[in-house]
């Protein structure tokens, strides 16, 4: 079956669906170059002034900085915690491993708004409301499932005796993990980390409950700007986000061939 070529009508339908889904992205990219101060299709004239405006606006710059700090730190933390958890859950005889895995994966299923409200109540209760650390912790909660999932998948594809061979050859547990297991699951981890990074970078529902005014992140800023009317500045920052994402994905694919792990 797999080497059968799709028929022409199916190919056309598939192409139309893909085109339909990509139109909004195209619209945003095109309007970000428009000279008018409102969104028009086709764009009137060509300019980069909206990019210049956005990139010199301190509010936007701070939001970008907040988002990057948040995404990088929560992804790194999730990597450490997620890999450790996956290793323990997969390799060691931990009682209730299935239940623990389900619990850690739950943020994928529980609506983000619920997590946001719950986190808000909790941090208010323990008196940590408004701390940037809380925001990082919340983002770890929602990004850990991506790391855990890809780490578990990578570990299950690995011959256990490879690590045992390293142990017998004189490597202690951590050295065997660092020199043998970790390099072998790295492509899977890169894929998981990318998902985690993007998830943190674009999150609104959890962040909006927890971020104070000074901690506004980029998606929240875009969200609130749109409330006051869409302008080409929003389109410009969105275009930048799209371009950045594409570049990161291409680099990751070249570096690790990670599409096999998604």
């Amino acid at each position: 079956m797999s080497d059968m070529k799709p028929t022409l009508p199916i190919s056309i339908v598939a192409l139309l669906v893909v085109a339909f889904l990509q139109v909004p992205v195209l619209v945003v990219v095109l309007t970000s170059f428009s000279e008018t101060s409102y969104l028009t299709i086709p764009p009137q004239g060509w300019t980069l002034k909206w990019f210049a405006e956005v990139l010199s606006d301190p509010v936007y710059l701070r939001a970008i900085r907040n988002s990057l700090i948040l995404a990088v730190s929560s992804t790194l933390l999730s990597l450490v915690l997620g890999v450790a958890a996956a290793y323990a859950l997969f390799r060691k005889a931990i009682p209730g491993a299935e239940a623990i895995t389900a619990l850690l994966m739950a943020p994928l299923i529980v609506p983000s708004v619920v997590i946001g409200v719950a986190m808000l109540q909790y941090v208010t209760l323990v008196g940590l409301r408004g701390s940037f650390l809380v925001l990082i912790v919340a983002h770890v909660v929602i990004t850990v499932p991506y790391i855990l999932r890809s780490a578990l998948a990578s570990l299950s594809g690995l011959d256990v005796s490879v690590e045992e061979a390293a142990r017998v050859l004189g490597a202690d547990g951590f050295t065997a993990f660092r020199l043998v297991t970790l390099p072998l699951i790295k492509p899977g981890l890169v894929a998981g980390a990318l998902f985690a990074f993007v998830t943190s970078m674009e999150n609104v529902p959890v962040t909006i409950f927890l971020a104070s005014a000074r901690q506004t992140t980029l998606p929240i800023l875009i969200f609130s700007s749109v409330e006051m009317g869409v302008n080409p500045g929003v389109a410009a920052i969105s275009t930048l986000l799209i371009v950045a994402t594409v570049i990161v994905l291409l680099l990751a694919e070249r570096w690790t061939g990670f599409h096999k792990f998604v």
Binding site: V162, E164, A165, A166, V168, G170, A171, L179
Partner: protein, 353 residues
Amino acid sequence: MSNLSLRNIVKRYGRTEVVRNASFQIAEGEFVSLLGPSGCGKTTILRMVAGLLEPTEGQIMIGEREVTRLPPNKRNIGLVFQSYALFPHMTVFENVAFGLRRKGESGKPLEERVNAALEMVRLGGYGARFPRQLSGGQQQRVSMARAIAPRPSILLFDEPLSNLDAKLRDEMQIELKRLQQELRITTLFVTHDQAEALSLSDRVGVMHGGVIQQLDRPEEIYHRPANAFVASFIGKPNRLQGRVEAGTVALGAGLALRPERLDLPEGSAAEVFLRQEAIRVLRAPEPGALAGTVALRAFSGPQVQLVVRLAHGAEIVVEVPSAEDTASLAPGEAVYLAIRPRDIIVLPQGAEP
């Protein structure tokens, strides 16, 4: 290099005893195999020696050192896995260098020892390749080089040849024997292949149900099995029921066998094991030969298998080389089976499976 000894080793999972009170010693430079069907506990013993499993009870000594609770990296052993377990992200050179690097070896001496180990398995010049670029046999040789390079005091093999096809397996068997003779490293070899165990080992331990049934030289295992399990597991034996009478085992209908050794009391029930390959097929009677008729004939190339029905009704399977005159015997023809007294194995009846 040192000797290995296991003292009263027990391994339990919950209430199941996988290894029951195993005690044995492997002398310095000796090659001992553990042979048995899957699930008999042989791999469990090997993994306990390697430190990958902890025994529930008992002691493991390497030389004068007790290693029972030591982690694998503190035991100085070499282990060759069935799956090769090479590091796929490292070159052949780095695979072999792994153990040496853990011992702090580096630079020129490291390079020399890695290359020497690769030469020893006839893979000199393959250092720059990656494991995936090698055949199964070559990968297993890399895995051997990796195990011997750090000069372990004990070498362990966990079914190392069972992933290879039959022809390659024979070649590797010779390779392995040569390597072990050159290095004279104390070796524990685990396999379910009896030909492999018998031909490679100084001594073979036949295992069943977590118990070492017999640990002895291959010839002893083959010719003087300690119990019915060993007798039926090794070779292709025929089993006959009989009764001890006046120095013979009477099978019924006037048929009797006179074994070289008979330690059973007069009148007791006995079980006779006759190996297919130890039975000579004759067209004419001979003193002591069993009379019967051919019931079935099957040609398999170099050999012809004959099923012979004895006078008292029991059936015996014999193998005749196709080149022999008796290979042309057809069903219904009379036949006589001669067995040398030393090839008649007699054991008490109903003791084991």
